[in-house]
Amino acid sequence: MAKPLLEARRVSKSFAGVRALKEVSLTVYPGEVLAVVGENGAGKSTLMKILAGVQSPDSGELLVEDVVRTIGSVQEALSLGIALIHQELNLAETLDVGANIFLGREPHCCGWVDAGRISKEARLVLERVGLKVDPSTLVGDLTIGQQQLVEIAKALSVDARVLIMDEPTSSLSDHETKVLLSLIRELRGRGVGIVYISHRLGEVGGLADRVEVLRDGENAGSLLGNEISHGAMVQLMVGRELSQFYPHQSHQTGEVVLEVRGLRTRANPGQAVDFQLRAGEVVGMAGLVGAGRSELLEALFGVVPALQGSVRVSGELVSPRSPRAAMDAGIALVPEDRKHQGLFLEMGVRENLSIATLHKEQAGGFLNRTKEKALCEEMIPSMRIKTAGVDQPVQFLSGGNQQKVVIGKWLATRPSVFLLDEPTRGVDIGAKQEIYRLMEELAAKGAAVLFVSSDLEEILGMSDRVLVLHEGRLSGELHRSELSEEAVMRLATGEQTEAAAI
C-alpha cells in the first residue's frame, strides 16, 4: 500500500480524569474510505478532533506523511491538508454561503474582501457538492441538509488531502445522501483519504474500504474489504463482559400505569410511537444519539408537547400540555442536562429539593417552611446527599450528589411514572450504584420507571424490558430473556433497513 497520509500512534486523551482515549492508533491511506465506528461515547469524536487540531492529545504522536507533527490548531491542520466536517454544524447563520466557505481565509486586497473572487470560487465548490444555491444566500435560510453540504464545500475549498466527516449524513435527505456518497467516491478516486464516521452501519458497509472499530476509547479491531458486515461490526462494537454491578432484581409487575398511543413528537412527526409501562417495571430506552429518545420523554412530560397521540396514566386520559399538567398526572422527569435543565446552581439544596412540590405544600400561596425543612431532613440522609448544609449552593456539590438532588426533588412529588434521561451521565461509580438502587426502590414501591441511556451496559444491567428507538421509530422491544448487546445494537442501528439504505 502507498505511504500513509495521516497516522495517529498510541494517542491518549482524558477529560477531567475520565479516559476518553487509551493508546488509540489509526492510519489513513490516500484513495481510501476509512470508516470509524463505535457506540456513543466510544471516543470517535474525540479522536477526530485530535486529528483535526481541535484538541491536542495528552500522549501519543501524530504523523503527517511519515513526519511527526504537533497539530495545535485547526489552522495548522488545514495547512497540512486535514479538514474536519463537524457533527454539529459550525456555520455563521447570519453570513451568506460564500462568506462561510471562506471564513477566516477570505481572499483580500489591502484589507478589502474580494467579494467577486469569493463568489466565483464558492460557485465552483458548491457545484461539486451538488448544492444549487447562490453564494449570496444566507446560511440561516438553508435547510439543515443544505447547511451540511456547505460545510463539505468549505472543506473541499481548502483542497484537503485528508477529509474527516463526522456523521455527515445524519441530517441529509435520501437524495442529498446519494449526492454526498458519490462525491466521496469521486474524491477517493482522486487520492483523497477519507475518514468517515457514521452510526448508519448499512451506509458504512456499502462505502468503506476499511473499518476501524473503537470501544471504550480503545481500538477494538479492524475489518478489511470482504470482512465488513453489519454483524462483524456490531460484534466488535459491543464485545465485552457484563459486570455484576447492577442491583437489578426481577419485579412483580402489576397494572398498566402508562399507556402511550400514536404519539408523534415535534422532532419526529413522521413516526407514531406506542408503548406501555407497568407498575413495578424498570424499562430501558436505548437508541443512538439523535434517535429521538429525549424528545419522546420531553413530550410525555409536556416540555415540548406532542403533536398527536394519547397518553393514559392508570387508565385515565391525560394531556401533558405543560410540565405542571404532567406532574399533576403523576409523571416526573429527571432531565438529560443536569446543570441547565435540572438545577438552580446558585440556589441551595433546600430550594432545589422543594421546588417541584412548593405548590402542593403551600398555604394560601405562602411557603410552608416546616414542610420544606422536613423534606430536606427526609431526603438528604435517605438519599445520602453529601452536602455541607441545606443551604449549600448545589454548584458546589459533586456531579453524583447534584443528580441525587434532582432525583430527590422528583421523588418528593411521589410520581407513578418516573422518567429519567441519562440518569448516570457524568456521575462517579459510587453515586451510579446509589442511583440504580433508587430506581429499583421506586419500582419496588409500584412506580413505572423508564430510563433513557446511551450506556448499553447500563441498559442491559438495569432493564426488565428494553425499548429501542431508531430515527424516531420504535424499532423493537426486547424482554430481559432476549437481551443482548448485539440484539440492542442491531435494533438501534436499524439493521432491518440495511438493505434499503444503499
Partner: protein
C-alpha cells in the same frame, strides 16, 4: 444581608460627607425632603426590581409615570370625572400596560429591552398627545387628595414623616413578604436563576414573567399618582424623564443582578435612598447642578465595580479553599 452591608456603608458615608460639607443637610426640612423623594423613587425601584429579578428589564416606567401623572389631573380637572373612577382608570391603565408588556415578552418572545423601549416612547407620546403638550395640574383643588403625597405624619417632636414614606413602607413590606415568603416569590427567583430549569420544574414561567411586568407597571402607576400629587402639576414633555434609569440604577446598586435571580427589597430601598442622597448632596454642596449626571454615573459605576471585585475575591478564596480541602483528602 451581608450583601446589603456594603451599600449601606456607602449610603452612610455619603450622608456623613454631605453633613460635613453642608450644614443644612441634617435640617428637618431637608431630611423630610430627601425622605419624600427616596420614598417616591423607592416605590418605582421595587417595581423594576421584580422585573430585573426575572432577568428582564423595564425601560418604560418613566413614561408610565408621565402617562399616569398627566392622566389623573386631566381626567379630574379637564374631563371632570369623579375621583374614584379616575383612580380606577389610571390603575387599570398601568396594570394593563404591564400585562401588555408581559404578553409580548412571553407569548411573542420579543426581548424585554425592545418591548419596554417602545413603551417608553409610546406612553410619553400618548401623554403629550391628549394634553396637547400643555401642563396639567390640580390648581387649588383636591387639597385633601394631595395630602396623600404632601401630608406629614408626626413622628418625633419637631420632625414629621412625609406621607409617601407610609406608602413605601406598605409596598416594601408586601414586596418582601411576596418575594421571601410566598411560593411565587421563590418561583420568580428560580426563574431568574435558570429559566430552563424552571420550566422543567413545572413552574408556570410565562405567568410569573407577566406578573413581574404587571407589578412593575402597577407600582410605576402608583408612583406616577404620588409624584403628580406631590408637585401639583405635570408637564408631559419631561415629567418622569429618566425615572426608569434612576429606578434601575437603585435596584442594581441594591444588589439586583441584571442577569436575574438576585435581589432583595431591603437592598433596593438602600439603593433608592443612596440615589436621592447623592442628588441632594449635589444640590447642597455644589453650585453647579449640571454635573449631577456625571457624579451619579461615577458613583454607580464605582459601586458596581467594587461589588464585582468583592465577588471575585470571594470566588477566588472559595476556589482556594476547595483546592486545599481536596489536597488534604
Amino acid at each position: 444581608m451581608k450583601k446589603n452591608l456594603g451599600i449601606l456603608g456607602l449610603l452612610v458615608a455619603v450622608c456623613v460627607v454631605t453633613a460635613f460639607l453642608s450644614g443644612s443637610f441634617l435640617s428637618a426640612y431637608n431630611v423630610e425632603n430627601v425622605l419624600r423623594r427616596s420614598a417616591l423613587f423607592g416605590i418605582l425601584s421595587i417595581g423594576v426590581g421584580f422585573v430585573i429579578i426575572t432577568g428582564g428589564i423595564d425601560l418604560s416606567l418613566g413614561s408610565v409615570v408621565c402617562l399616569v401623572g398627566c392622566a389623573l389631573p386631566w381626567l379630574l380637572t379637564v374631563q371632570l370625572w369623579p375621583l374614584p373612577l379616575a383612580l380606577l382608570a389610571v390603575a387599570a391603565v398601568s396594570l394593563g400596560i404591564g400585562l401588555f408588556h408581559g404578553l409580548l415578552i412571553t407569548k411573542l418572545r420579543i426581548q424585554p429591552f425592545i418591548v419596554t423601549l417602545c413603551g417608553l416612547l409610546l406612553y410619553r407620546g400618548i401623554a403629550r398627545g391628549f394634553t396637547a403638550d400643555q401642563t396639567v395640574g390640580f390648581g387649588n383643588e383636591f387639597k385633601t387628595l394631595r395630602l396623600l403625597a404632601t401630608g406629614k405624619v408626626p413622628f418625633l417632636p419637631g420632625f414629621e414623616l412625609p406621607a409617601p414614606l407610609i406608602f413605601l413602607a406598605l409596598v416594601a413590606i408586601l414586596a418582601a413578604i411576596f418575594l421571601n415568603r410566598t411560593i411565587f416569590g421563590r418561583y420568580l427567583l428560580a426563574l431568574g436563576r435558570n429559566p430552563q430549569a424552571a420550566t422543567y420544574s413545572g413552574i408556570p414561567t410565562q405567568r410569573m414573567t407577566i406578573l413581574a411586568y404587571v407589578i412593575s407597571s402597577g407600582l410605576a402607576g402608583l408612583g406616577g399618582v404620588l409624584f403628580v400629587l406631590d408637585v401639583n402639576s405635570a408637564q408631559p414633555v419631561d415629567f418622569g424623564n429618566f425615572y426608569e434609569l434612576y429606578a434601575i440604577a437603585a435596584a442594581v446598586l441594591g444588589g439586583c443582578s441584571l442577569r436575574g435571580g438576585e435581589g432583595s427589597v431591603v437592598g433596593i430601598l438602600i439603593g433608592a435612598a443612596l440615589m436621592q442622597v447623592l442628588r441632594n448632596m449635589i444640590t447642597l454642596v455644589t453650585t453647579r447642578n449640571n454635573v449631577e449626571f456625571a457624579i451619579i454615573g461615577a458613583v454607580i459605576l464605582l459601586g458596581v465595580v467594587a461589588d464585582e471585585l468583592a465577588r471575585r475575591i470571594a470566588a477566588r478564596r472559595r476556589a482556594a479553599h476547595v483546592l486545599e480541602t481536596a489536597g488534604v483528602r
